[in-house]
Symmetry: D2
Subunit: 348 residues, 4 copies
């Protein structure tokens, strides 16, 4: 049984484990003051072309989202997100637990649009009886496998700046977004167009770890305190620093993301060739093909995946997620099994 349910079913890229072993007995300072964390931050700031940025390493996405929101917002300020956004759909009320409302908008293909934001602003004017929209949360890549084009990010940045809203990008799968085949957005663009974003390690080669980047350093003021207060400051911060250093000292991070995308792309092409359509025009390592229930049943015998959405009595969209660790022979086998199932041949 092969698991296409997520991109965190395996451990870390071997280079990371090797580096952890190699440096294991060096004494390093705790709490992120170690040499590896410092070097990793330096390199990250160079790569995004923003040497004045402030970078922090945390251990997971939910943790990062809740601490960023908690650090940036005053009690009455609220977050805007699409309904499918991770903070709304998958984080057990983490944002509300820090005291803030999420105002949900419909979006398009998992993406927030400027008109979504405008509508929220227009309907939140009866001060002080309503919350004050203050931060726009976007995921890139989104939870539907889509990603933002550069002009889309520019439009969002424009409306946010005009209305003094923070633009915050959840980059749990940022690598996948930036290496998508038709992506026109660079790492530097992300830094220029958002106020805060995070670079996901867990879903792209690391054991764990996310790097938050405040491109406006004033926004990071006292972030260290809040990070500690919420239990996110690792004593052995080196294990995050070492991982991000290994991922970014050359191009490993983006190589891994591209491998994950290519795996998905190869599967998607095969599906398309068989005449099937998709729920979203994804482009990254998450694809949502619409298949017949009998084919879904067949594939379920050998592959684990989520049935995402019922389309009608005979069809449903499933979600397949690939990663850097998905091997070519798995991709080949899946395509072959799909073709068999399509042809009505039993698979096992």
């Amino acid at each position: 049984m092969y698991n296409f349910k997520n991109d965190y079913a395996e451990g870390a890229h071997p280079r990371i484990l090797d580096k952890l072993a190699e440096t294991n007995f060096e004494q390093q300072l705790g709490y992120g003051e170690d040499n590896y964390s410092l070097e990793a931050k330096f390199i990250l700031k160079e790569k995004i072309g923003c040497k004045g940025a402030s970078v922090f390493f945390l251990t997971g996405g939910t943790q990062t989202n809740l601490i960023v929101v908690s650090a940036l917002l005053r009690p009455h300020e609220a977050v805007i997100s699409v309904s499918s956004g991770h903070i709304q759909a998958n984080e057990a009320g983490a944002i509300e637990a820090t005291g803030h409302r999420i105002i949900t908008v419909e979006g398009e293909n998992g993406k927030v649009t400027p008109s979504d934001i405008q509508q929220v602003l227009d309907t939140h004017t009866l001060r002080p009886h309503v919350v004050k929209p203050k931060l726009v949360y976007i995921s890139n890549a989104t939870e539907l496998g889509t990603y933002y084009a550069k002009h889309e990010l520019q439009s969002l940045a424009n409306i946010c700046r005009k209305n003094r809203l923070y633009l915050y990008m959840d980059g749990a799968r940022l690598g996948n977004a930036l290496t998508a085949k038709d992506s026109d957005t660079s790492f530097e663009d992300i830094a220029q167009l958002t106020d805060v974003f995070y670079i996901g390690g867990t879903k792209n080669g690391a054991l764990l770890g996310e790097a938050v980047v405040f491109t406006i350093p004033q926004l990071a003021q006292d972030f260290d305190y809040i990070l500690k207060q919420r239990g996110a400051l690792l004593a052995k911060g080196r294990i995050l620093g070492i991982q991000f250093l290994e991922l970014f000292k050359d191009g490993l991070y983006f190589e891994l993301a591209k491998m994950a995308n290519d795996n998905a792309s190869e599967i998607a092409d095969a599906i398309r060739k068989l005449g099937y359509t998709f729920l979203t025009d994804a482009g990254t390592n998450q694809i949502f093909p619409i298949l017949s229930t009998s084919i879904i049943e067949s594939l379920s015998k050998k592959y684990a995946f989520y049935v995402w959405k019922k389309i009608n009595i005979n069809q449903a969209a499933i979600r397949l997620i690939t990663s850097w660790a998905t091997e070519q022979h798995v991709v080949d086998a899946f395509i072959s099994d799909l073709e068999k199932a399509h042809a009505g041949i039993e698979i096992y």
Copy 2:
């Protein structure tokens, strides 16, 4: 320069790194549902003699403390702790950030006493104008290197049960407490005498990780939700499961703790032999010798440590922390250098 400032300056015990590498490409379920986490929990429950317990893995001590308190207490309920307790002294207000007051007591040698508790109960009666004491927080080993004798824990358990207070033990250094030379307390005793406790991994051989144990499973009801909500649920939960499995499948955890204690003990004996006294009668891997400022200055050239407390103009107590990773030659060198400094010989 050797660092005696803490017990998290190195990485993990090599067996842990090996196991992470060995299992790296296995696909496992996320969020702590992996086989390693399940097996580690099973073994832990056996070892504490409490098969009905509920066990959860988290990434750090502050995180664990704040989530346990948050899960157990209603808004008006408060925590009792000594002033030197980690939650009061070193966690950036994490407990208050979850909405709860810490009522501090003086304690003795870093330990809460039954009379401390009684006094808090006696002075918190003017309902509803005061907070309601509900949870007693103790660290074992304490922040002053001391540990609780069995009869002390029994007394605390008694007064807590009588007054419907939870007894919660922060076991960041539980291994050190249980393997202290004169300790009469077993792992099973801890489970029987506390309502909740955690077993620290970070400071005893792991890269990161703490295991929370609810000995009364009802207290753990819905703990998974709260853990997720606070950002403590790792996607790759396997990395915690694998570490705890490795530490507990045989006696590694306690071996490492004993090594740390022995290292401290050897240094303490040498210090005592030279005629110096200690701030506390520690017994674990943290010792607080009182030395002259000139000796402190000399040692500072080759060793990093905290000056803990000024005693008078000529003397101060320093804190030395050893770990499983402190090698014998370092212990020997330190003792030799101390003897030199004591004899007025310059060290370098």
Copy 3:
């Protein structure tokens, strides 16, 4: 200019002011221990037929809602409400500020339906990644002027009990709901069908004040602490006790509510007679007639009210709220002015 914008534009019913003056120089205990509060609670419990209930007096609706939710829910538990519910639409994120998500449902005519609740339960199963629905919030009368029929409340109570959800009624306008012309629900019914509800004073004759009733006293455990902690415990609790005693020692509370309803009803009848329709089939003291923009403009010269919803380019629904303090001559004048405006005659 007469104000139909709300039902709190005047002070209190004169009997209340008289009673405050009459008892002014008596010394009474503070913090709700005064004789008047005790007597008012006793009478309320009698009137709802639930002598075991626990009753508390607070100063306003938002305060009451946030404290009840805060007292009943654990951190990961969430509230279900219609989008038009006061907690969602008008309370500046008060519920989220206590740490809890509001899951919004569409409802019908401002009312939650059992199928709304079922749908929320069905879509919140992916534990622990989602919040746990735990409390159903309903307003009665609703923000759209409608009220719950007895069978509707019974259905809600059934699904809530079956799924261990609390049913909480915001009764800011409970008097208006129970005295609506076709209402088949009694005060006792409310106590039997909800777990907690509050009886609004502010909008029905009091200067300020709401009475929270826990029909299951265990749910009120330690509520006094939380009420104090949130700043809701008045030093001079007598001023709430005196008002509720005056409102409930005879039938004043329901008389005032009925007066408000009758005023609205008279206006609604006149509007209907002129051929206009309504946005909702209200029945209480809030009505939402759909008028032409030119008539709305005419009426605006002499009357203040909210334009609630644009219907089309020529029509909009306005909201008119009456109260016990709306005098007959105002009702008559408004109807007369409306008839003039309808006939194209200018009003002034």
Copy 4:
């Protein structure tokens, strides 16, 4: 039985009740937009000599304290207070419930000293493991009946400004502080020396109500939202506006406070004349005479008061609180009864 336990045992000054009745049927805007609130704010700003100030009306002291702290502090910032401060001793953990620690200092006679503050700053440097002191809370008059001299406030203001700490004054009994016999501080001084303060109505003539004054209007930014979110915005805000207008349109507020002080002073003089001493050198409407237990027992038959502190087996300090509503004949009777008890004559 006469109650000396507090200064809120009676209702309001009759002029306030009269004004509420007189204005009762006027329609006014809700939520503090009424004419009376606006006028009261205007007058207050004139009287404190700070026309740029921002003023808000709330209903009680605990509510005011928690909302001010909540509005001013970021999550990791803490409050400094003496142990006897109302927020620490009597508010059920309200400050911690907003997420902030109170760092307690010993103080002198219930007052914070600059050296207290310096010591807190000196011991909170290990960023980010400690909280960040940010707001100094002082009560004036204090909970021990004492008040701040002008030079004391100046010293506090100096150290606060130097260290970017907010100076916040809880003025539940501000009137009593400013009208104390030897007070050298004016209403204007308070506005100049603090960043935020509140003027207590409840304990000085009002039914309920406190006026918060932000002397630096930027600090009040969005305070209205937070006030609403915490349930402190009264629908009928007029009842607060009318009361403060009545108290401040002439000198009523300070007259009432002086009456309370004079009553206490007369009793204190009589006690002193009999040879007794006091726990604190109070000066306002709270006095703490040290009496023999037999005299305390005698007085308890006719007067209610708190026994504040045991001095030894035969003596205790009691707390007597007078108010504007304490009549001369009560003062006379108490003194006469005390003289009898002192002479060993039974009182009844």
